[in-house]
Structure formats: C-alpha cells, structure tokens
Amino acid sequence: MSFWDVTRQLADGFGITLIIFGITLVASLPLGLIITFGSMSKIPPIKWITKVFVWIIRGTPLMLQIILIFYGPGLMNWDIMLPRLTAVLVAFIINYSCYFSEIYRGGIESISKGQYEAGQVLGMTKTQIFFKIVLFQVIKRIVPPMGNEIITLVKDTSLARVIAVTELVKAAENIIAVKSILWPLFYVGAFYLLFSALLTFLLNLAEKKMNYYSG
C-alpha cells in the first residue's frame, strides 16, 4: 500500500475528525453560556439541577456517555435510534458545554464587583452591564483555559471509535487490520500535530488581538 493510498484513507478519517471537532465547538460555545447562567441562577431549583447535571457529565467518562447515548435507546426499546455520528456529536456537545460552562463561570466571577456597581451608577441595566462591560473582559481572561479544552477536544475525537465511527485513529487501525502494516498508526500523529499547531497559532492570535482590554 503506497504512501498516497494511506494518506487518502487517513484523510477520509480526518474529515470525520474535523466534523466532530467543528460541530462540537460551534454548538458548545453558546450552549455552555446557557449552562453557566443556569449554574449561576438566583433561583435555587434551576441552580441545583444545573449543578447536578454538570457534576454527572464532568464526573463520568466521555466514552461511557457516547456508549450510553448510542446504545441506550435501543437497549431500552425506545423508538429513537440516532445515527452513529449524531450520537457522537450529541455526547460531545453535552460534555464540552459543561466544561466550557465552568470556564465561563470562573471568568465571570473574576470580574470585580466594582465594575457592576459602576455600571449601575451610570444607570445601565443588568443586561447592558453584562454584554457591554463584563462579557469582553471575560472572553479575554478565558482564552488560555479555553485553548486547553479546545486542543483536548481535537484528541478526544478519537473516542468516537468506541461506537465504530471511522475517525482518524480508527482509519489507521483499519489499514493495520487489513494490510498488516504498522506505520500508518504513527503517521496519524502528524495529522493531530499539524492541526493543533494551527489551533495554537489561532489562539495566540486571538490573545494578541484582545490585548487592548487591560483588565
């Protein structure tokens, strides 16, 4: 099997990896904020239900969540059956939203009370204070921890293989299983490294761009 044949097959797997990465990121960023509002809510039931939910999701392995979401409905004889990739996406979005929500919460709580008070003195509403003063400072502060999670997400996509979604690592394993050649397994490392190099570059760029908010 030639280098190009292998590269082509791995590229197919990398396509799935990118889909999982991209959709999870785009959906989890706003969903995480909603969960943050839930866990910071002043209404106790909402606050505690959200906190317990975040505890369950963060406290169990993502692999287990993928297995449960895909096989669970069928095993319990419900009439919903998610396609494999959809099940993976649902599990990833829920999991990453919870992690993001805690990062957001840390960011929001790091903004000093004085800024809220200053906003109130100027006659701004609570919503205005949050979106016009707090939010952008929060974004600047959470870029490094978010970068951590985003790069972890790239590698976590390989968990999709537990329900036989052919992402990058699984694609390499299929080549090994059929052709009995081993180097593709190490070649996948190059794909991950290049992609995380690109993300690191973009994250650094984002950090630089927001340098003018000195908070």
Binding site: G72, I163, A177, I181
Partner: protein, 287 residues
C-alpha cells in the same frame, strides 16, 4: 478497566430494562417486549417481519482478511461478504454492512443497531447465552504466533508456561488459554482486537499471542510488517466452528438463513466462494 465500565453500564441498562417490562413473564432480557408485541400478532414470531419490513438487514462486521475487507478498488470483498450477499439474495433483503467494534457485538445486536454478527464468529457456550446461532458452516482453529527466532522454543503449549501471552478479549483464543494447564498460568494480556495481540508480539511486549488461524496466516504473509512472525500449530484444538449470530429469540430469521445456507451448499455456490479465498479446506457444508 473498560470491560468493568461496560459491565457496570450493561448492568444499569438491564435494570432499566427490567423496570420497563414489569408485565413480561420472562423479563430476562431486553428482547422481552419485542416478544410481547409479537404475541399480539397472533403468536407468529415478528423478528423476521421486523427485518423484512425494513427491507435491509444490517450485518455487523470488522475489517479483516480474508473475511471482510476493502479491495484495492475500495469495494468490500471477502469470503463472508460474498457469502452474506448470496444468502441475502435468497432471502430477498439487502445486506447493509456496518463496521462495529468487535467487543460490543452483543450490545449492537440488543440495541438493534445491527441485526446479525457475521464475520468469522466462533460458536462458544458463553456466546450462546447472548446470541442465537445459525448452523455452523466453517471450521476454525486457534494458532500461536511468535517471533520467528523463538519458533523452535514452543513445540507444545507445555513449554509456553509462564511466558507473557496476548489474545483478543472474549475471543475463542481466550477460551483456549483458560482451558490449557500450561497457558492458564501465563501472564495474560487481553487486547481489544486480534490485530492488537499481533502488535504485542511484534513489539516484544508479549512473547506470543493466540488468534484465529486464518487471520494469523493472512496477517503474517510476505510483504506485511508481520512477516518476521511465525504461526505455530502447537495447540490441541477442540472443535471450533464459525456461525452467524442473531438476537436471542430471532428464531424465524435464523430458520430462514439456515435454509438459504443449505440451498447454497447444495448448489455448490458456497464451495465456489470458499475456493476463491482459499478456505475450501475449512468448509463444513457443501464441500
């Protein structure tokens, strides 16, 4: 570790399942409610209606030579691929090949994400508790794979005592190890797949592995990275056979498949497919 997580999850799901079908007289597995709905249809088993109603039958496979694998033109080929297609043609349903993780085949069946396991599946007593098998169509045996320079060290399994030995978790190879006096005392390395067991031997993290003979032969052929490994036939094999696995209770489906296999064997079609992949020596039917 993963196995532990799985069994805990399986347990949890089973509990839910039990709560769900309070009225079920058997209440023993998740198929309970399927059987209940079938009794509404006047006693006829509905498992075949379910499959024929979909028009397609989902076949759980893994990629392995010579059973199911992608040829150079990207088409799925292999003994089992062609055998499956021939049987499905007789049954009037379209096969849909779905790659699965082998260790989760029982999950896939019970969750109805696949309808059959058909990929060189060895019949074992343990598996009979979780699956319904068709008639056996092919012999299987287990083989030991070691590095070529160690090939003379192990004329019988007795010399293999206390070495490190790799195998696929839940495979027929594991049963061989558990049943053998010498092998049972080896340091055991349960792997996710047979190909991982080969990798253990190649990298020296295990001294030997025990996997299916056909797979071992194909994987260590000239031109592969495993060409420096050697397949030993030093195991006292009990009679092992390949068959097709279905959900427990899918009796009508299995009856139809068995009839189709008999027809193919009588027509000589089964032998023809087996010859194409050099498996005719192992064939049990129509040879």
């Amino acid at each position: 570790m993963k196995k532990k997580i799985l069994s805990v999850l399986m347990g949890a799901v089973m509990c839910f399942g039990l709560c769900g079908c309070n009225g079920g007289e058997s209440g023993s597995d998740v198929n309970g409610s399927v059987d209940n709905s079938s009794s509404d249809n006047g006693g006829a088993s509905s498992d075949w209606n379910y499959i024929s109603g979909k028009g397609e039958i989902i076949i759980g496979i893994t990629q392995n030579v010579p059973m199911n694998y992608y040829g150079d033109d990207g088409e799925l080929i292999g003994f089992e691929t062609e055998f499956t297609k021939a049987v499905c043609e007789k049954l009037g349903v379209t096969p849909k090949f779905q790659e699965i993780e082998w260790s989760k085949k029982e999950f896939e069946l019970n969750a109805k994400t696949i309808d059959l396991v058909w990929n060189g599946l060895t019949v074992t007593d343990e598996r009979k508790e979780n699956m319904l098998f068709s008639k056996s169509y092919m012999k299987n045996k287990q083989a030991t794979v070691v590095k070529a320079e160690n090939a003379d060290k192990y004329p019988t399994t007795a010399e293999m005592a206390n070495i490190t030995i790799a195998f696929e978790s839940g495979s027929a190879g594991e049963n061989v190890i558990k049943a053998d006096e010498a092998l049972k005392n080896c340091k055991q390395v349960p792997n996710e797949a047979q190909k991982d067991a080969l990798l253990e031997v190649k990298s020296g993290t295990a001294d030997a592995c025990i996997i299916d003979f056909t797979m071992a032969k194909a994987a260590t052929a000239e031109g592969t990275d495993y060409a420096d490994l050697k397949v030993l036939e030093n195991i006292q094999n009990t009679d092992e056979e390949y068959a097709i696995g279905a959900r427990l209770g899918d009796t009508e489906t299995i009856a139809k498949i068995d009839a189709a296999i008999d027809e193919l064997a009588a027509e000589g079609k089964l032998l023809e497919i087996a010859k194409k992949y050099n498996l005719d020596d192992a064939l049990l039917l129509g040879a």
